[in-house]
């Protein structure tokens, strides 16, 4: 009996090693409502109609969520459905969804996720080809498709336009947005000399972005949007002399001197807004995250012919119990009406061509008008498009490069060796 007990103990210890430790699945149910309501039909007859409750899962929390919820409220009115919104980051969904799908379950009816991930898991997604084709020519982005079938549609546009600054800070210190590379370097010098300034640029850090966004902005500026596209396609390697030169001659010399160490990005917003740093590179959702969006100014690196523009992709899992209602919801969200409601809230730009800039709040309108002059306002995001574990590697290697610039060649070799097509 004693031996059996010992054997069981060993087996339990061994088996426990195969069970991974708890992993994060942050979730917040924003709204829950009853699903049945008595609806009067004609004057004398009352029937109980089941009103579908749709669950929408998206990555937006805080101010970004507040900007998105009016769209869902409008959809409830328009479609006669109940909608609850849950927050899950794509990183967490990538862990939650596979076992759910294997069990033919889905945690939501409409889910926002990475484009590459949806393509990898297309067998679990509803075909949205018919839905998309009704207004296909109205969009500035292409849908997520495999073999001609569409499995996810792009929602609103985010762009990574360049370096943000406070207009009041620039006025106070007599600074001007640069028009040449030399002026950019001179600006960084001027900012660095201002008393109280720790570094000219604060480097935000999420899980590795926006360091990746800064890097891509340099690649696009000095190699053109084509270089970014060729890197994504695997036609140009990270060890290519052109790529290395951009890193070595343009980005790396600025790292220790003008860029701060990576700072958690929401904390970075406060530090920058408190004028401990002069510039901050971030996507346009920043307009919804600062105290006074009207004080915001932004400039691209001089000579940039394009900026990264991306979107969040909406798909419907096959295992949703409300596929038709979910399709109607997506159709509403990407309709002109739905898109205008979202654009009015600020922080994102419409991905439709027929949305007037007048719809936006002032800061977003200025950005939309500025982007209209950029040759390529929607260059695909390098790491989002390549995806997979390479995306994590890209973020992680850039975090290393930021604090150890002398590791450039090792970083480029790692990025090249781990690229999916190698």
């Amino acid at each position: 009996m004693k031996r059996i007990g010992v054997a069981l103990l060993v087996l339990m210890l061994v088996a426990s090693a195969c069970v991974p430790a708890a992993t994060p699945t942050p979730e917040r149910i924003v709204e829950t409502r009853v699903i049945e309501r008595t609806v009067p039909v004609e004057k004398t007859v009352e029937v109980t109609k089941v009103i579908p409750t749709l669950t929408v899962i998206g990555p937006w929390a805080g101010a970004e969520m507040e900007q998105f919820l009016p769209v869902l409220r409008a959809a409830e009115q328009k479609l006669g459905v109940q909608i609850r919104y849950r927050i899950y980051r794509a990183e967490d969904l990538s862990q939650v969804l596979p076992p759910q799908f294997e069990a033919k379950q889905a945690p939501g009816d409409v889910i926002f996720m990475w484009d590459w991930w949806i393509r990898e898991n297309k067998d679990h997604a509803v075909d949205l080809t018919d839905l998309w084709q009704k207004e296909a020519n109205q969009f500035v982005l292409q849908p997520s498709a495999v073999d001609g079938r569409i499995y996810a549609v792009p929602y609103v546009l985010f762009v990574k336009p360049g370096f943000w600054y406070k207009k009041s800070f620039f006025q106070k210190h007599n600074l001007q947005p640069p028009t040449t590379w030399e002026e950019f370097l001179a600006l960084l010098d001027q900012i660095s000399r201002i008393p109280g300034i720790k570094k000219a640029i604060i480097s935000g850090d999420g899980v590795g972005w926006p360091l990746s966004d800064i890097t891509e902005h340099f690649l696009i500026t000095f190699g053109g949007p084509e270089l970014q596209e060729n890197l994504i396609a695997g036609k140009v390697r990270f060890t290519d002399p052109q790529v290395r030169a951009i890193f070595a001659e343009r980005l790396v010399p600025l790292l220790g001197k003008y860029f701060s160490d990576p700072v958690e990005w929401t904390q970075a917003i406060d530090l920058w807004w408190n004028e401990e740093y002069g510039l901050f590179f971030m996507g346009n959702w920043l307009t919804g995250m600062v105290k006074d969006p009207n004080d915001l100014g932004v400039f691209t690196l001089p000579g940039a012919r394009g900026v990264v523009g991306g979107t969040d992709w909406a798909f419907i899992p096959k295992y949703s119990e409300n596929v038709e209602a979910a399709k109607q919801l997506i159709a509403f969200m990407i309709s002109k009406e739905g898109m205008e409601i979202r654009a009015k809230q600020g922080g994102k730009l419409a991905s439709r061509k027929d949305i007037s800039p007048d719809v936006y709040p002032p800061a977003d309108r200025a950005l939309a008008e500025a982007l209209a002059k950029v040759e390529r306002p929607n260059v695909p995001d390098l790491d989002d498009t390549v995806g997979g574990d390479w995306q994590r590697t890209f973020w992680d290697q850039l975090k290393l490069l930021w604090v150890r610039p002398q590791a450039l060649d090792s970083v480029l070799r790692t990025l090249d060796a781990r690229f999916p097509t190698r």
Partner: protein
């Protein structure tokens, strides 16, 4: 054997099975079978064909597992296996030693219960939250540790520890000592309460000082407790995940990558389930070693 004895024997086995079967079935179907399936998966390719040790060769030659180009005493990253080993080498003696010291110092001290509760708070903090706290503890702008270091003139250590490959792993290890030391302290406190006071009184009569009493009475008496603490701590260190995930995501440049996190990335980022199963099998192997050592040691002390 008489019929009566035979029936009694059957009855004993029936009772044993009746009481243990529900738990055994749960363990069998929810833990042992999935674990065996994971081991099988580590020897197959995506199509389910047997590939021998190919997955093991690929995982072990991955720089994320073993980085031979940058090995101690060179700077990290050294690879997940080495990082786990470093974690054990530093975290284990620190938590065991500190836990023992705290337990002895707070034994019968005034306000000991309150102080122990404060120290134990780290243990009841979810490790996911613990990781975030560690990140901010060692942050240049928000961190109390970096602020203190700057205040005492160590400006070089006043920067964000988790941003630099040289300091990221030490930050996580030191932070996790704070989170885990409550466990060893509580167990040692319980162990101290079981040592008869007569031992100390007899030793005092024989002229033994406090240090001799501690060395010759306290430490040997706490040996079974120490075994439990060491085994549980090593197992925890082997399957570390949540702290690293939220504090550094294994970075920068893989400087804090650990086996469980690598397994997660293989499975849920690279979608390479065979490699993930391989790491899980390696973890199982390491755990098995610790488990066997623990059981043998316990049996020999009995």
């Amino acid at each position: 054997m008489s019929a009566w004895r035979w029936w009694r024997q059957i009855g004993r086995w029936g009772s044993f099975l009746g009481f243990t079967a529900p738990a055994l079935l749960l363990i069998l179907f929810l833990i042992i079978l999935p674990a065996l399936q994971t081991i099988v998966l580590s020897f197959t390719d995506r199509q389910g064909n047997f590939v021998g040790l190919q997955n093991f060769a690929q995982v072990l030659s991955d720089p994320d597992t073993f980085n031979l180009t940058s090995f101690p005493p060179g700077p990290p990253p050294w690879g997940s296996i080495v990082h786990n080993a470093v974690w054990i080498m530093l975290h284990l003696p620190l938590t065991v030693g500190l836990g023992l010291i705290l337990a002895v110092l707070l034994d019968r001290a005034r306000g000991a219960t309150f102080l122990k509760s404060i120290i134990f708070l780290g243990m009841v903090t979810p490790m996911i939250v613990g990781g975030v706290i560690i990140r901010f503890l060692f942050d240049e702008n928000a961190g109390i540790v970096t602020a203190v270091l700057r205040a005492v003139g160590l400006t070089e250590l006043g920067r964000s520890w988790t941003a630099y490959p040289e300091t990221a792993l030490p930050a996580l290890i030191l932070g996790s000592v704070w989170l885990w030391v409550g466990f060893s302290m509580i167990l040692y406190s319980a162990g101290l309460a079981t040592i008869p006071r007569d031992y100390y009184e007899a030793a005092a009569v024989d002229g033994a000082g406090p240090f001799q009493q501690f060395w010759y009475i306290t430490i040997p008496s706490l040996r079974p407790v120490t075994m439990v603490i060491v085994a549980m701590t090593i197992l925890w260190e082997l399957k570390l995940f949540d702290i690293v995930y939220t504090a550094t995501l294994g970075g920068p440049g893989g400087a804090t990558m650990v086996l469980a996190l690598q397994m997660y990335f293989y499975a849920f980022r690279a979608l390479e389930f065979q490699r993930a199963a391989t790491v899980a099998t390696l973890l199982t192997l390491f755990t098995l070693i610790v488990g066997l050592w623990f059981v043998r040691t316990m049996r020999s002390s009995e």
